[in-house]
Amino acid sequence: MSGKKKRMRLPQADDHLDLVPLIDCVFLILLFFMLVGRLSTDQRTEQITVPPTKTAVKFDAEKAHWRREVINIFGATQKTDNGDSSPPRNTIRIGTKSFSQTGINDYTGYQQIRAILDKIYDQADKYPDTKVAGLMLPKVIIELRADSDTEYRVVQEVQQMLTDTMDLTTMQPKKNFDVKTLKAFVNLDFTTRKTTDRL
């Protein structure tokens, strides 16, 4: 009888909750996130299907002290069957800002990206170039994260824009410039995936 009464009584204030299972679970969750969680930066969250390669390597941890900037270039891989995609093909995004070219000779997007790159250059540590005397290069790795179906010309133009040797009003090579004034970025990482990776 006394046993029955004990089981049926309502919980009292002095009944202590058994926390052991909860602690077990919390530790399991903690362990799980410690093992599989990845720190992601806002710059690399865009859904882009990057092209496959065989020689791809993980991002270099030794260069972690270098600043890394990601330039996303959108292609057509994300297009739906209806043909629409967002953002439009060949849109270039750096940080949270997107730039789309509106015509075949419209280079205003490149000019605006260059203005952002100039600021990044000014803030970065520099080292002298070994090939061109007087040229100072920033300790920044630019990651070109281009979609498989981005037009090659866009990736190429971005590379040229990075070297700061183009006049971005006409997209013709600069003439009569002083190399000391160039704000060139030369260390690139092309984002890719291993051929053995499954999407």
Binding site: K6, L22, D60, E62, K79, S148, Q160, M171, L182
Partner: protein, 228 residues
């Protein structure tokens, strides 16, 4: 006896809360987990002393280069720029981009690249396609090898890709060249940009045109198809 039973009841572990938690966890991961492959990278070093718009004065006689030419499928030598411009309209497309491409080194016979396989989610078709491209580039680059010279003294490699083609075609050629260099120079790429300073120069050709009209694209195709 009854006192002992009571002790056993209290000592039994109540599994209900843990099961609750595990069910919640299961639900959470079922709803939120997305399996994607981790992205990786291939390093590249942009030349500051070569190419269009180089930071230093350009040499009058540029050193000989090995040209890798990539252009849309079905196009052959022997036509005029205006004819290439017309042929572009007949080339099959996939989601707005040229579906397939041809790749050629020097004056050799071109190889055909199926673009769809490079877009696939992985698996054997992609691996086979990539293997085929690597094999072709390995064979052809071996013919341009300068015996006894260090890797940075070998002829520069320039990838000339038609501006309207997809980036994946140019990148896979770059990948194959880097793979060839790793084998020829016994290099193990780690992704550190410093290792490219003493490696063979591999670059992407500057755009030949700035005005993407059909006529200009025809001119560009003519140049790439006839580049040796």
């Amino acid at each position: 006896m009854s006192g002992n039973d009571g002790d056993m009841d209290e000592g039994r572990l109540d599994l209900v809360p843990m099961i609750d938690c595990i069910m919640l966890l299961l639900l959470f991961f079922m709803m939120t987990t997305k399996f994607t492959a981790e992205e990786k990278a291939i390093s590249s070093l942009l030349p500051t002393d070569k190419g269009q718009g180089a930071a230093s004065a350009q040499k009058k006689d540029p050193p000989p280069t090995v040209n890798i030419c990539i252009y849309p499928e079905g196009m052959t030598k022997g036509y005029q720029p205006s004819e290439y411009a017309k042929q572009m309209d007949t080339v099959p497309r996939l989601r707005g981009a040229f579906a397939n491409a041809q790749l050629r080194i020097g004056g050799r016979e071109p190889m055909f690249i199926t673009g769809k396989d490079l877009n696939s989610k992985g698996g054997k078709p992609m691996e086979d396609e990539v293997e085929m491209i690597h094999s072709y580039i390995f064979d052809e680059l071996a013919k341009f090898e300068k015996p006894g010279e260090s890797r940075d003294k070998q002829n520069d490699i320039v990838i000339n890709c038609f501006s309207g083609l997809s980036w994946k075609f140019a990148l896979i050629a770059y990948d194959a060249v880097r793979s060839y260099e790793a084998k020829a120079g016994n290099i193990k790429w780690t992704g550190n940009p410093d290792e490219l300073a003493t490696a063979r120069a591999v670059s992407f050709a500057p755009p030949r045109i700035r005005d993407y009209t059909p006529n200009e694209l025809g001119n560009e195709l003519y140049e790439i198809i006839h580049t040796k």
